[in-house]
């Protein structure tokens, strides 16, 4: 459903992503790993429209979406979380999640100002859904909190809840387990699995190898912006280039 073809992005002289191609199958969990600075986040930024590619195509459900704005992509069913938190600290935690459902709600200014009954009903329903999602992501105790009162780890989960609130076709998670301990990482693993089982395609960037190896149907390894290897968990783990560049001998 998502197919990346010869994608490149450079900043001045730095080639952050170079000629990368891969395919993500519907309903699968596709991980992207690689050393720091390999270009994983840049890749996410390209795919979700935050950056415009220097060259290459991004095919999403048969349409070339390269260079499209993030909101246009969101409308086509794409959603993501951020490595550097992008939580709206001026809002409550719940409202943050509800922003995720933006596209499914009435966006008319006047209907909103008049608070038409239909708007109100949809909003209430959305509110309950959002609270439910927060619980699903393990931040249920913050349902009545402001985003500014949450700790780092909680905010990471809040972002996942917001991304899910969009009911996306594909969700891109950038290091969802960073800042979580092993037990908490286990919870996230479970959560991601459930998301994938519900039919949402997951693209995952993560440095926690246990999580990646347990979850991934397919793994793409980047190094210096280029594709280093690709394959199943077992294949990648055994690849000597990957061991040298990324995993190290003990993995």
């Amino acid at each position: 459903m998502l197919s990346i073809e010869n994608l490149s992005k450079s900043f001045g002289g730095v080639h952050a992503v170079q000629d990368v191609s891969f395919n993500v199958k519907q309903g699968s969990i596709h991980s992207v790993i690689g050393p720091n600075g390999a270009g994983k986040t840049t890749l996410f930024n390209l795919v979700t429209g935050v950056y415009t590619p220097t060259s290459g195509r991004i095919m999403f459900n048969g349409e070339n979406v390269a260079g499209m704005a993030p909101d246009a992509l969101a409308r086509r069913g794409m959603s993501r979380t951020f490595q550097n938190l992008q939580v709206c600290m001026n809002m409550s935690a719940l409202d943050n999640v509800m922003v995720g459902s933006h596209l499914r709600l009435n966006q008319n200014l006047f209907a909103s100002m008049l608070r038409l009954p239909a708007v109100r009903r949809a909003d209430e329903a959305c509110r309950h859904e959002a609270a439910e999602l927060m619980r699903f992501c393990g931040v249920g105790k913050y349902v009545y909190s402001d985003a500014g009162q949450m700790s780092y780890g909680a905010l990471k989960r809040l972002e996942i809840a917001r991304a899910l609130a969009a009911k996306p076709k594909v969700i891109l998670l950038d290091e969802p387990a960073a800042g979580l301990n092993h037990t908490e990482t286990g919870e996230i693993e479970e959560l991601v699995r459930k998301v994938a089982q519900s039919g949402i395609t997951v693209v995952l960037v993560e440095h926690d190898m246990k999580l990646v190896m347990n979850l991934s149907d397919h793994i793409l390894v980047l190094d210096y912006g280029k594709k280093l290897a690709e394959g199943t968990a077992a294949e990648v783990r055994a690849n000597p280039d990957v061991i040298a560049a990324y995993l190290g001998a003990a993995a």
Partner: protein, 316 residues
């Protein structure tokens, strides 16, 4: 989660206060002040939607206010248009102008945005100052009474009723808006523009919409104030009036609808109260402004609300 009741409780209190004021205030002068407060509050609420909620500063809103006021003055005086038509045309013209500049201007952020809106306001006020055949130039222009189908709004009582109704309506609109999907989208733009775009918010469109909305409201309030006061000068479209409006927003509280009303009330009444400090008005005003912001950095309403809440600390 803001419950329905909580929201409407505030509105109800406001309605009761507005209904009681004319009973308590026997002196027409006090009613006059109340009318000015209400009309200012309407603009300030609209500006707060833009500034406090959406996070887009405007140092040029008095320009829009002035456009409305001058459209009403010029079209009724020079063209003999009925006031309501002048008001609508003024608002429409303001809306069109705001719409045209919205996209390029709102691409700017922070201080550049402040400067660009300031520039826009200054351009408008200079145009008003210079085109004296229409606007009366720096000396100002008289505005006839507001008539609607043979009915003339006259006297403090009638004007009070009109402005109180407008304020209630605006408050209701604003409260509805901020607690709606659109309102959340606006606040999300403030919180994180990328995050909101990734969530599907067409940020450029929503910023433009709220900019136009607040400009149109300012224009309408400008028209009505012009008819009420009966005489307008370019100062009301000028930079200092813009700053005054922003100050009302911040002193009352960013992202607080009721804060806007309090801010407008305070900064409208204060100059009247300070007249006793002969010669020292400006100093005292400045000091009050600083002290308020130092002790209530989030603005009056949010800071007081926070303090009330903190009386019952809860443990994590």
């Amino acid at each position: 989660m803001k419950s329905l009741n909580q929201r409407y409780a505030g509105l109800l209190v406001l309605a009761v206060i507005l209904a009681l004021l004319p009973v308590v205030l026997t002196n027409p002068f006090y009613i006059d002040v109340a009318i000015r407060i209400a009309l200012n509050a309407v603009v300030v609420i609209a500006l707060n939607l833009l500034m406090g909620y959406t996070g887009q500063i405007s140092l040029g809103h008095a320009g829009f206010y002035g456009m409305g006021a001058y459209a009403s003055a010029a079209l009724t005086t020079h063209m003999n248009w009925p006031p309501i038509l002048a008001l609508v045309v003024g608002a429409a013209a303001t809306g069109v102008l705001a719409f045209v500049v919205a996209r390029p201007i709102l691409k700017l952020k922070g201080h550049t945005l402040a400067m660009a809106t300031l520039g826009l306001g200054i351009i408008i006020s200079i145009a008003i100052n210079n085109e004296s055949q229409w606007t009366g130039g720096p000396d100002g222009i008289g505005v006839p009474a507001f008539t609607l189908f043979d009915f003339t709004i006259e006297g403090e009582k009638a004007w009070y009723a009109v402005s109180a109704a407008l304020l209630l309506l605006m408050t209701w609109f604003a409260l509805n808006l901020i607690d709606s999907p659109v309102g959340r989208a606006l606040q999300a733009i403030h919180g994180s523009e990328v995050a909101s775009r990734v969530a599907g918010v067409d940020t450029a469109k929503f910023k433009a919409r709220v900019f136009v909305l607040s400009a149109v409201v300012a224009s309408i309030a400008g028209s009505i104030s012009a008819h009420y006061i009966g005489f307008i000068t370019p100062g009301m479209a000028g930079f200092f009036h813009s700053i005054e409006l922003v100050t009302m927003v911040v002193v009352g509280g960013m992202a607080s609808v009721f804060g806007s009303i309090i801010g407008a009330a305070l900064l409208t009444v204060l100059p009247q109260l300070l007249q006793t400090f002969e010669g020292w008005e400006v100093v005292v005003f400045g000091v009050i402004l600083m002290v308020t912001m130092i002790f209530m950095p989030k603005g009056l309403v949010p800071s007081i609300a926070q303090r009330l809440r903190s009386r019952k600390p809860k443990e994590v």
